[in-house]
């Protein structure tokens, strides 16, 4: 058991588990954000609950941060190890003949997503932590007595530059998921009669969720 993470398959399994967790988180994140399109009140209520409920803040949030950091660090470690496994490159290599662009460039789409997460932390997470845990304001209210969450969200999508960066990041996320979703199931050993159906679902998820986030950003940008 102790040797699992020192083995190639163990590391692959750990990558897959963290990926599955992050994909579940992404779905939950989308479910809340899409509320902002249909009902600002529902979005405010859901955001306030997620931002103040102790189990989310003190249990799920640390697990999420660990999951994100683990996935990125392990991804870089594996990339470096894999590069060492071929010390002389081919003079001519036709990768497109046997594999998808997405599968061969997970490190680049991953780096683009990492850049987005840095932006997202500066945009959202750091001010949120500052308000709640430095200033100690857990009310979630603006001075006028209304919830601040919807106002903050729509304010973020005023700048066309930021909206452009968000859209681009979600394009990279779609590319990452187009390979990553299915790959995670293969890594945990799930390749069976359901694999074909899973591949179909993975395409729907990989394109649908990022497209949904892009829709939310554009919706608020053009409706502000």
């Amino acid at each position: 058991m102790s040797g699992i993470l020192n083995s190639s398959i163990g590391r692959k399994f750990a990558m897959a588990i963290s990926a599955l967790f992050l994909m579940f988180f992404l779905l939950q994140h989308f479910a809340i954000n899409i509320l902002s399109v249909f009902s600002p009140n529902a979005f405010n209520e859901a955001s306030h609950f997620m931002g103040t409920f102790w189990a989310v803040q003190y249990l799920l949030q640390p697990v999420l941060i660990f999951g994100v950091i683990f996935h990125f660090v392990m991804g870089f470690v594996l990339e470096l190890k894999n590069n060492k496994a071929r010390q002389v490159s081919y003079a001519k290599n036709n990768g497109a003949a046997n594999s998808s662009w997405m599968s061969r460039n997970m490190i680049w789409s991953g780096l683009a997503i990492l850049a987005f997460i840095v932006l997202h932390f500066i945009d959202f997470w750091i001010p949120e932590i500052n308000t709640k845990f430095i200033d100690g304001d857990m009310s979630g209210l603006l001075p006028n007595g209304e919830f601040r969450y919807y106002e903050e969200l729509t304010h973020k999508f005023v700048s066309p530059l930021r909206v452009g960066a968000y859209v681009l990041a979600f394009v990279f996320l779609a590319l990452h998921l187009l390979h990553g979703f299915n790959s995670a199931f293969q890594s945990v050993g799930a390749n069976n009669k359901y694999t074909k159906a899973l591949k179909g679902f993975s395409k729907v998820y990989a394109i649908g969720i990022p497209l949904g986030f892009i829709f939310i950003a554009l919706f608020h940008h053009f409706n502000h």
């Binding site: 058991m1 083995s7 692959k12 071929r86 010390q87 081919y90 036709n94 046997n98 945990v188 050993g189």
Partner: protein, 248 residues
Amino acid sequence: MNLTLKIWRQKDANDKGKIVDYQISNVSPDMSFLEMLDVLNSEIITKGEEPVAFDHDCREGICGACSLYINGEAHGPDRLVTTCQLHMRKFKDGDTIFIEPFRAKAFPVIKDLVVDRGAFDRIQHAGGFVSVNTSGNTQDANAIPIEKVNADKAFDAATCIGCGACVASCKNSSAMLFVSAKVSQFALLPQGQVEATDRVLNMVNQMDEEGFGNCTNTGACEVECPKGISLENIARMNREFLTASLKG
């Protein structure tokens, strides 16, 4: 056909090596790729130069000896064939063809296009067998009922010839398709169950020690495999390994 060949030449394991250009004319489309190289070598020898070294044995696509990375693909552009079964009709007059050895840290070049695939032998020695004492009253193999679907999958896995195309094609030089085929052919049969735990742990451990990379599920190995070994075997090996790790 007249062709330009760009061939990797390397005097020995310590030589740096480089691509050398050769022109060859009057190549018949009916020649196999190795026959074309035989003709080239005849011309090179006639000039008093060192012929191009490459691996080959049965030339029937069953021994796994031939290799070659041709125009950026293991065993060339055709599917489900080894280099010896690749024919020149797959190329056009005037083509430039890159011919390189299978590249991986675990497959060091010995000379020109010949690589040392001994790492695969060492992985096999680590557990790719069934220890059955055949002295005395050996049971008839047909006396043990095996589901047809499992028998077929075990046979499919057993068709792996260990050529190394999976390693050569993988961007990470991963050997997981090969190892998973060898694990699967026994894991699917009752005869392989007794040593199943040790087999998968030892073979994967040896694979890691040899310096092969990690699988990232690009699927290139499955596409380039001359025997069509399925990625399903890698998923099975992952399950076997994780279960064995928890047990042991």
